[in-house]
Symmetry: C2
Subunit: 326 residues, 2 copies
Amino acid sequence: MAVYTEVTDEALRAFLAAYPLGALRAFRGIAEGVENSNYALQTEAGDFILTLYEKRVDPRELPWFLGLMEHLAARGIDCPLPVKARDGQALRTLAGRPAAICTFLAGVWPRRVRPEHCAPLGAALARLHLAGADFHEVRPNGLGPAAWGPLLDRCRPGGDAVQPGLVAELDGALAGILATWPVPGALPTGQIHADLFPDNVFFLDGPEGKPRVSGLIDFYFACTDLLAYDIAVCLNAWCFEPDGSYNVTKAHALLSAYQRLRPLSEAERKALPVLCRGASIRFLLTRLYDWTATPAGALVTRKDPLEYLRKLRFFARAEGPASLGL
Amino acid sequence: MAVYTEVTDEALRAFLAAYPLGALRAFRGIAEGVENSNYALQTEAGDFILTLYEKRVDPRELPWFLGLMEHLAARGIDCPLPVKARDGQALRTLAGRPAAICTFLAGVWPRRVRPEHCAPLGAALARLHLAGADFHEVRPNGLGPAAWGPLLDRCRPGGDAVQPGLVAELDGALAGILATWPVPGALPTGQIHADLFPDNVFFLDGPEGKPRVSGLIDFYFACTDLLAYDIAVCLNAWCFEPDGSYNVTKAHALLSAYQRLRPLSEAERKALPVLCRGASIRFLLTRLYDWTATPAGALVTRKDPLEYLRKLRFFARAEGPASLGL
């Protein structure tokens, strides 16, 4: 939940004057998203989301993110479409921050994932990967395998305070992951979301009351990386139960629906377990870093890093792709 | 900013099924309000606010609050109107909490108060008081003068850590306030909002671009108390500049617009300075209590109690009603 930057009404009015959106009707901070400040904006033209990009986002990368969303939306993906101001620019400045208005997407993110969510999720992920295939600008994954060692180093001083022996366990796990990580070119690469957690996927009731995906949001970790790594992120984020168990029914639904649109290669299938371990350690490390670095009393919700230690251990024990639902 | 209770989609759907509002379209946590969990809810019938009442609100008092809002809305006050379910009940249960859906109010609360906001505010406050005159159910002010001594006692252990000498200064100030507080019956009494801070007042552009009040929200401190005390709360909340100075232009605009609709009696005018000191100490004490009692790392924004010490000192020095803008 986050509103880091307050916007005065005068500044907002001046900002909106650049857009062909009519008069302001409502403006409320949204208690979702942890990286940026998000506001629900209502004007005479309808509902929008206004995002102010906070310090974790590099302003030089914003044109890539907005360009990707525009590209995907043009290909029928239900993602936020950046709204251009009268001068043709979508990326502007408000309250001293880079800022953009995007279209509002209907739908509700699932607070509790059910198996019925996982097939539509898998299909939406495959469609996202296919739609991104002709977006040719590359953004390296700043939180990919090359970043995990340095990130672990930054957690070294405080890591064992979270759990005794944690740093040594992660040293061993990371070495194992990096030793078997797919070499460049071995697996299909493209534009991935890289953070497709439940709170970034909206659903509405489809035919017969079955959930259908109505929106994918928050593309600010998107990058150019292994497509199957995006699946591994989703298996981590969607297929564990609150008690820590892996729900292979959910995973199978996700993977099957994905493969109906983009079948995995044999190399991708074989690599899936290590990609899952990689995704576990990526979220483990950023959470661990936030946990050790966030000042007590800060407004940001600190997420439990050990949730991902349990997932990492599960994937390390898993015996091959079949046990993951493939 | 607050979403304390997460609502699963199944629970939300089951809850909504009791209402004649059509299918769910969107549901987002709102990063505003500190007492309850608020969600922007969109259904086929339009925009609404769903509130889950958290532990600071006594469930037995909710019918009073909802009844007052219904009463005021029926008399033309732009306040949230509780939406009744098909069984005629507006107050229900969701995720183990009392919950209600209210109408959505357009408008934007002023992040920076300008003098032009204060006349419409004063008029809106007077209209609120007049509209409440025939709502006869009494709710005593749980944070009125009788509560301040016990509240100060609870701040005694930690108060001086916030500022040395603070507790002794507040002991002296409170004794002075209570010694000159109006006796029961001396001033007009009625239904007051009691927390009409800028984030509880929405504005839209009116004729010639001048702000007009489009909504008053968050009635969960409302109670039956001195009407002029509500004015004192607003003078505290709206008429100080960020540098701590009292803006008599704003105060005069507020008071004049109020008096055009409900002129103050001579007794109310004379009492205004002590009512202002009372309002200062009321917010000072609740903030001080929250400051000393909130665990470090909690998600709630702790508001600076010393802001209200400066206001209290200003009102204590003020020489009569005229210096307050009357």
